[in-house]
Amino acid sequence: MSINTEKLGIVLQNFVTATSDVQGAALVTPDGLPLAATLPGAMDEERVSAMSAAMLSLGERIGQELGRGGIDRIYVEGDQGYGILTSCGDDAVLLVLADKKAKQGVLMLEIKRAVSEIKLILM
């Protein structure tokens, strides 16, 4: 069965519009290609995808080699906001870009929800 990319796009778009302080999200393959994305205007989808894949693979490598185990998420905290990478099974990685104002608890919960929704579509 082929992946319903339209549905993936809708899920991401809903996630970005419905979650306060989320500025963008992208779902990418582990080798850095875009599956679906809702990103702020200036950001290039392909570049964002490649960066997400590189970051996640390095994070997983750190988890493995430095005895941190399997990686649930990678967290980049800047003074302008957050970039959060979450693995969505073997075939996809979710990147969420959020504003500095975002409440972390809410954000994590919303991401968890989005991930389970995405996993269902990818199955």
């Binding site: 393959t29 080798d31 590189a54 693979s57």
Partner: protein, 184 residues
């Protein structure tokens, strides 16, 4: 102990990861992921961040080898890696002429950011469709042999061959640094 950082770059499937695996004394830190783009036609897995290997070179020098991803969507990694590099080798598969232009693009990307010594390593030279070194040099834009960086033939799967290429790179790097030091 002195650390020399060498970058191994080139198009997809040129043999960058294999090159580093052949000589590294530590288990290579790789970031391979299953390929889903056109890379999948060449090989099942592709590097998405970098490969890292280490090699002791004499008692005074340690070589740190960094392999880049091949696809241009990872050019931010090319940028990160070349900024720290002391020298680099551009690997080019001699039997894939359609990629020469792309290899040239990688080289100019690197040269725009950093002026570090470089050499060209030709892989897959044992095939009937492989191009001759001098023709590849021209295809890569080195029309005048005087300006052409050293070209070596590498079998990325063979430790001796890779070590030879690395020695050539280090020699070239030292010579270039000497020449530059002599300039006012």
């Amino acid at each position: 102990m002195e650390i020399m950082r060498l970058v191994v770059t080139g198009p997809v499937g040129a043999g960058k990861s294999t090159f580093i695996r052949s000589v590294s004394e530590i288990e290579v830190v790789d970031t391979d992921r299953q390929a889903t783009d056109e890379t999948a036609e060449l090989k099942p897995k592709t590097t998405v961040a970098f490969d890292f290997g280490r090699l002791q070179f004499g008692s005074e020098m340690a070589l740190h080898l960094y392999g880049t991803p091949g696809q241009s969507r990872f050019d931010f990694m090319w940028d990160i890696l070349i900024r720290q590099a002391h020298a680099y080798i551009l690997l080019v598969a001699a039997h894939r002429p359609l990629e020469f232009r792309y290899a040239r693009r990688i080289a100019s990307f690197m040269n725009q950011r950093r002026q570090v010594p470089m050499i060209i390593g030709l892989t897959h030279t044992d095939l009937p469709t492989s191009w001759q070194a001098e023709n590849i040099a021209i295809a890569l834009g080195y029309i005048d042999p005087q300006d052409c960086p050293p070209i070596v033939t590498v079998n990325a799967t063979e430790q001796v061959s890779v070590a030879q290429a690395i020695i050539t790179l280090i020699q070239h790097s030292m010579q270039t640094n000497l020449v530059n030091a002599g300039k006012p």
